[in-house]
């Protein structure tokens, strides 16, 4: 189904629709909106940190609220919903079924996103996206903190409902003539994250309730004054959120499996390797959560176990990188904008993975933990790999969804600015972290090297921000005034590998 810009539909038809393409589009449009909103917060943070002293953000409390809402928005209102949106749009097509297994449930799952988002944004809490107690229990002011807790509860539930729908659609509703080992790798990525979500989310859902009752004072799970243990929260939190980072990543991996073979004009190097790598990451990804807690005072044995668990997950990612590079090798590559974004994503995936190995090397973690190195590392993967790939996929899907072609030149400018900007911000932050600057700092010592690194990072951030404004302009203008795309081969690849409109498995 192509977005009918030719014959507009009534707004309430779209809002009450349960068709997977409509819901997919609602997810995609809302997630891009939240990307820009969260990005605006980031630009404000970077402007504040351009110089030591107070600049544009009036006080530390506000600064803490900014980074809390920035993180929460980017993770739960951009990264997760965008993956879910593309999944919604494509999965029924990929498994040759008419819609998702439960279309009404699908709609409910989407509409929980704006509700959760409203709670997060209206609350504007200051507890950090990780909400560690005791601060989040005994100090973070309400009702902001309670709104954050309930907002996340709703968003988590939305994820779970979506995951159930994906699993049933792929395993029960797929066309009988389509064997599972011929299902596209993007579908495999969504299947993997759906299972991971079901296993991972409940722990945090429990932790949220415990945070709330602790705040009320009726329980003392994490409050030492009542005999609780703040570190217990961190275990519950990271048991969910370490697998969650793979949940952020895997849809991007799946999208790369769609784009790389197509633009390399070559089939994927090894389909089986891709499936095995998904399965490995989905399971081993649960074995490393406390590498986020290596500085909390755990015993040597505990820390070693989690270091091993972390390292064990690396080969699975290495398999994906090999697969893509081997696919591109010897191919006649067309570097259209989606491919540029994808290849940039692969390069930064490698860089951020390497940084991760440094973090998990036990003695080195004491240098990097809670410093700007970590900020650089996770942004390199979330922005450099996940967001760049998502962006490439937006351009890739644009002709299929709108029937029109975006402006390729502007998209290439977007890529240059975004790729360069991301490297400028986040590589610099790695260095800043090694220089000792901690994260979540409203103000910093006026050391010349810290100031210089911060200024470079701010410049890079603004370049990235402006490049995304360019993208919005490109997408909006092209939807309205763009040239019509050649629907058989919108990117002039010369061959037709896959037609997303086809539902017949025998082609």
């Amino acid at each position: 189904m192509v977005l009918e810009v030719k014959k507009p539909r009534a707004l309430w038809e779209i809002i009450f629709s349960t068709h997977h393409t409509d819901i997919g589009l609602l997810y995609i449009i809302s997630s891009i909106t939240f990307l820009m909103m969260g990005g605006a917060l980031a630009l404000a943070i970077r402007a504040e940190l351009f110089l030591p002293g107070q600049q544009i953000i009036p006080d530390p409390n506000t600064f803490h609220r900014f980074f809390t809402v920035h993180g929460t928005t980017m993770l739960f209102l951009w990264a997760i919903p965008f993956g879910a949106g593309i999944g919604n749009y494509l999965i029924p097509i990929l498994v040759r079924y008419k819609d998702m297994a439960w279309p009404k449930l699908n709609a409910v799952a989407f509409w929980m996103i704006p509700v959760g988002a409203a709670m997060v944004w209206l609350g504007f809490a200051d507890l950090g996206w990780t909400a560690y107690p005791p601060y989040s229990i005994i100090r973070a002011p309400g009702p902001a903190a309670e709104l954050w807790i309930f907002g996340l509860k709703i968003l988590g539930l939305s994820s779970v409902l979506g995951s159930i729908n994906f699993i049933v659609t792929m395993l029960k509703c797929k066309h009988p003539d389509l064997p599972i080992m011929k299902m596209s790798l993007f579908a495999w990525s969504i299947l993997s994250i759906s299972f991971m979500t079901l296993v991972a989310i409940p722990t945090f859902a429990a932790a949220l309730i415990m945070l709330y009752t602790d705040r009320l004072g009726v329980t003392g799970f994490f409050n030492p004054a009542l005999g609780g243990d703040p570190i217990a929260y961190q275990h519950l939190f990271w048991f969910t959120f370490h697998p969650e980072v793979y949940i952020f990543l895997l849809p991007a991996v799946g999208m790369l499996y769609e784009m790389i073979p197509k633009f390399s004009r070559k089939p994927i190097f090894s389909y089986q390797s891709g499936v095995i790598a998904f399965m490995l990451l989905s399971t081993i990804g649960f074995a490393s959560w406390a590498h986020h807690m290596l500085a909390t005072g755990m015993s040597f044995t505990e820390k070693t176990v989690f270091m091993v668990g972390t390292l064990a997950a690396v080969p699975a990612s290495a398999m994906h990188v090999f697969n893509w590079v081997a696919t591109m090798w010897g191919g006649r590559i067309k570097f259209a904008a989606p491919m540029l974004f994808g290849v940039g994503g692969i390069m930064l995936f490698f860089a951020s993975g390497a940084g991760g190995v440094v973090n998990t090397a036990l003695p080195l973690d004491f240098i990097t933990h809670d410093s700007y190195w970590v900020v650089g590392h996770f942004h390199l993967i979330l922005m450099g790999t996940v967001s760049l790939t998502f962006t490439g996929f937006i351009y890739y899907m644009f002709p299929l969804i709108t029937g029109k072609m975006y402006n390729e030149k502007l998209a290439k400018i977007h890529w240059v600015a975004a790729f360069a900007g991301i490297i400028i911000v986040f590589m610099t932050q790695h260095i800043l972290g090694l220089m000792g600057m901690p994260r979540r700092y409203f103000d910093y010592l006026p050391l010349p090297e810290w100031i210089a690194m911060n200024q470079i990072a701010t410049t890079g951030a603004w370049i990235v921000g402006l490049s995304y404004v360019l993208m919005i302009y490109n997408l909006l203008k092209s939807s309205v005034k763009g040239t019509f795309a050649n629907m058989r081969d919108p990117f002039a690849i010369g061959e037709e590998y896959y037609d997303y409109r086809r539902r017949e498995p025998h082609h």
Partner: protein
């Protein structure tokens, strides 16, 4: 398609080999650095919003400053009294969380003397970015000589050393910053004894109970007017340490340059001698809880 599988196997083998090496090397180094020498002297480190207090093995206490000897192993037992903090001395790559209800241990031997930064490395609220302290590594001296050392330290302490608190730092159990805060009643009366003979009447500025909670009444009176030369007795009735430091906030470049009581422990008093404070209205704040503000007008 899978005919080139050999390349992938070789590549994965290489990746795995590197990872095993990283893991083994890390395990080895960590095992060595976690072994605390038996003769290490214990220092208790307590983080709380938003200052650091230290207790030496002999009972000496310091606030926002820590004096250690060079080439001597120390074991730090670190905890917090309220929310999570993290004790970080970046120049010595010391870093571990300070968690309430739990004691985390680090050890180090400082092999170069000098002054080093201590900062908080776990988000802890309003003044997380400003929760700093100073580490002084001094060449080994005898215990007796060490007691008189703080007077040297006084000159390097951050809050501008203006009028009050004489440099009589007795390192008493209840004393606080060797930077010259008027510890207990002793030093105050000693100082006050010297100054009380002046004609200026005792103007009292009270730091109220519960002042550390943001939004609660903090200083009484919030706006104080005195004549130049008056002595202000700052009475900290609260249980938490506070300061009266001129300036709008920690980021203010004039902060601490006109008057600064340094840390006043709960229940203690300090004095501000306005003889050296220029006339005018000066905003002040608490360095530990910067949302506590007031203003002092000197006529």
């Amino acid at each position: 398609m899978a005919g080139h599988a050999m390349y992938e196997w070789v590549y994965i083998a290489a990746v795995v080999a590197i990872l095993i090496w990283v893991g083994a090397a890390s395990w080895d180094v960590e095992r060595i650095i976690e072994e605390v020498p038996a003769d290490a002297e214990t220092i208790k480190v307590i983080g709380q919003q938003w200052f650091w207090s230290f207790e030496h093995a002999d009972g000496t206490k310091e606030v926002n400053e820590l004096h250690v000897e060079k080439d001597k192993p120390y074991r730090f037992e670190i905890t917090s009294l309220d929310v999570n903090h993290a004790f970080n001395v970046p120049d010595w790559t010391l870093m571990i969380d300070a968690v309430p209800g739990r004691i985390n241990t680090l050890w180090n031997m400082f092999t170069e003397d000098g002054e080093y930064l201590i900062q908080c490395r776990e988000y802890c609220g309003f003044s997380h970015y400003n929760m700093k302290a100073k580490l002084f590594v001094e060449p080994a001296v005898t215990e007796a000589a060490a007691a008189s050392e703080p007077s040297a330290a006084t000159t390097t302490a951050p809050p501008a050393q203006q009028q009050q608190q004489s440099a009589t730092q007795e390192q008493q159990p209840s004393s606080n910053a060797t930077s010259g805060a008027a510890a207990g009643g002793n030093a105050t009366s000693a100082a006050a004894g010297g100054n009380a003979t002046s004609a200026a009447a005792g103007v009292t500025l009270t730091i109220l109970e519960g002042a550390s909670v943001q939004g609660s009444p903090d200083y009484d009176p919030d706006e104080l007017t005195v004549k130049k030369g008056d002595k202000i007795t700052v009475d900290n009735v609260d249980t938490m340490p506070h300061t009266v430091t001129n300036g709008k906030s920690g980021s203010d470049p004039t902060s601490g340059k006109l008057f600064d009581t340094s840390i006043i422990n709960g229940g203690d008093k300090a004095e501000i001698d306005t003889a050296t404070v220029e006339a005018g209205t000066h905003p002040y704040y608490c360095m530990v809880h910067p949302y506590m503000t007031g203003s002092l007008t000197v006529e």
